[in-house]
Subunit: 335 residues, 2 copies
């Protein structure tokens, strides 16, 4: 059989075979074999839980595929919360006729990326729907992480003068997806930055006590992530546009198409608010990693405990303007 | 705004509003507000985790909707594993143009069912895809339950003579879905049995020490669930067809359409293997509940420690035949 059929999703013999041949083959046996749920021991009673559905289009893109994105996205959500990613569940919704070869490739990528990140994939689910009822393949991943007391983030300690750091160039994922869709009308070499940041973030949390809070600037981009931080913690963040790292080809694509890299999705970046006394140490650690080599201090907290938080951008020409979260439609199905 | 637009899934202002107006309105605030993950304390270090995607068609059916199914299905998966359901995550994939009124109704049903089952809904996610890329609405739910030592299931204690109990009539969900699709060509009053069984199962586990293992016979029906038990634990189960409870109208629909109720999905039933000394006590507890009032002993374990498990059916006419798991295509998108 070369393609997925509806019967693969019926819960009977073919579902059994699909699970045996593809999922268990790649993900290994879980504790789940005897039960409807995976039963597992976890090294803490405080856990972090996150869930995401992935509907990226196209499913394969420069720098990754939907499976890699599902693992790295979930790992990063846990990591920026200060948790150590522990296990991930995966739910597949597959269109009838989907090539089994592609499914295998995606599942193998997930297994490989999970191993790199040090998480186990447990408790999967597979549904198959008729041709036309879903666009190829969607994946949901839910991650459970373990909180460690010594890694507790301290957003309550945010104060004026704290630094804002981004771990690298922004907008790469967004432009890679646009490019893969041939929506650019031009060729770029930009690859998605999608990567698991948990080991890098773990090192930062081990070494630096002054980290207040972190976010992964995915859908909605860096600007939206920062606006949310400003609102959640009632602070003003001032970003210096000139210090925000953007690849030349990403900026070029944005200039042509009228996009702002600040609003384009990233899938392997973290934005960090840190005590300014620790900013150099944080930068040193980041730059020592492949994934953080373009890290940059991009701004600071200019006021705290205000009524409603706001994000300000100091532009290259010296003016300051307020940025809001992404409004309206920019790029559907970016992740 | 009356319909979901692509911009509702972009992670910006409209996503924010959708989450505020619909999800937080119904599900309440989670611990998630400050982080990318929900951070929570759990009362045990042994947990059960399960995940399921729901693609049922139609989304609304007699006895429930996709949201009720997502909660009850996940609650039941945890409960039959011997876990106390604790939290559920929910991921929504919504088709552009989906009516906001329907989304609200579904989300409200989920909130209501979660409250009834005693679980919190945490850590949601919303993606919106273009018209035609998904059939209305799919939901993924992942559940985390807490294991209790005194409720540990003991499949290793299964022995010859153990009883097999089903908690009520089978095939109701399957026929209700068929009926809602107008595929029957006849009208039935059959409602889906979809319901959270965790309180009932909790009482069984509190009162009866001889429960070996449980399963919820969903996709693939009672026969597939029993075949899996037989294979997993290398036992022979002999089921007496005459004692399997089937509603008359369900049997009638099956007779007309050529379906076997043993393979039709159930969404509010549990099959239990129990020490035969405890079978009467288990029946008494079940029959004392609305959801277990039609419970019946349907068979027993006739051999253990065999090379490969098998399920035998003693038919009404006195013959015995072997049943396999569902093979091929029966009813796509039943859950």
């Amino acid at each position: 059989m070369q393609r997925i059929s509806l019967a693969h999703g019926e819960g009977g013999e073919l579902t059994h075979q699909l699970i045996q041949d593809i999922f268990i083959q790649s993900f290994g046996h879980s504790e789940q074999t005897q039960f409807d749920s995976a039963i597992l021991a976890i090294p803490s009673q405080t856990i972090a839980v996150t869930t995401d559905s992935y509907v990226v289009k196209p499913i394969f893109f420069p720098g990754g595929n939907i499976g890699k994105l599902a693992i790295t996205g979930t790992v990063n959500d846990l990591a920026v919360s200060g948790a150590i990613p522990h296990v991930i569940t995966s739910g597949f919704i597959i269109e009838e006729g989907f090539p089994i070869k592609s499914l295998k490739e995606i599942v193998n990528t997930m297994a490989w990326e999970a191993e790199r990140a040090g998480v186990n994939i447990i408790a999967g689910d597979t549904k198959v729907v008729e041709k036309g009822s879903v666009d190829g393949l969607f994946i949901n991943t839910t991650g459970i992480g373990v909180m460690q007391k010594q890694h507790r983030l301290k957003p309550e300690a945010i104060r004026e003068g704290d630094s804002v750091i981004i771990s690298g160039t922004i907008g790469d994922h967004g432009v890679a997806i646009l490019s893969a869709r041939n929506e650019l009308g031009l060729l770029t070499d930009v690859k998605s930055d999608c990567a698991s940041l948990n080991h890098l973030i773990h090192e930062l949390l081990e070494e630096i006590k002054g980290i207040r809070i972190m976010r992964d600037p995915t859908r909605g981009g860096l600007a939206t992530a920062l606006v949310e931080l400003c609102e959640d913690f009632r602070i003003t963040v001032e970003v210096d546009e000139a210090s925000v790292p953007v690849r030349k080809d990403v900026q070029g694509a944005c200039d042509i198409l009228g996009y702002d890299p600040l609003y384009l999705a990233n899938e392997g970046k973290v934005v960090i608010i840190v005590d300014s006394n620790d900013k150099q140490k944080a930068l040193d650690i980041l730059k020592n990693h492949e994934m953080g080599k373009d890290a940059s201090v991009i701004g600071q907290i200019t006021s705290c405990h205000i009524q409603s938080g706001k994000l300000l951008l100091k532009t290259a020409v010296g003016t300051t303007r307020r940025l809001n979260r992404l409004s309206g439609q920019l790029l559907p199905r970016i992740c």
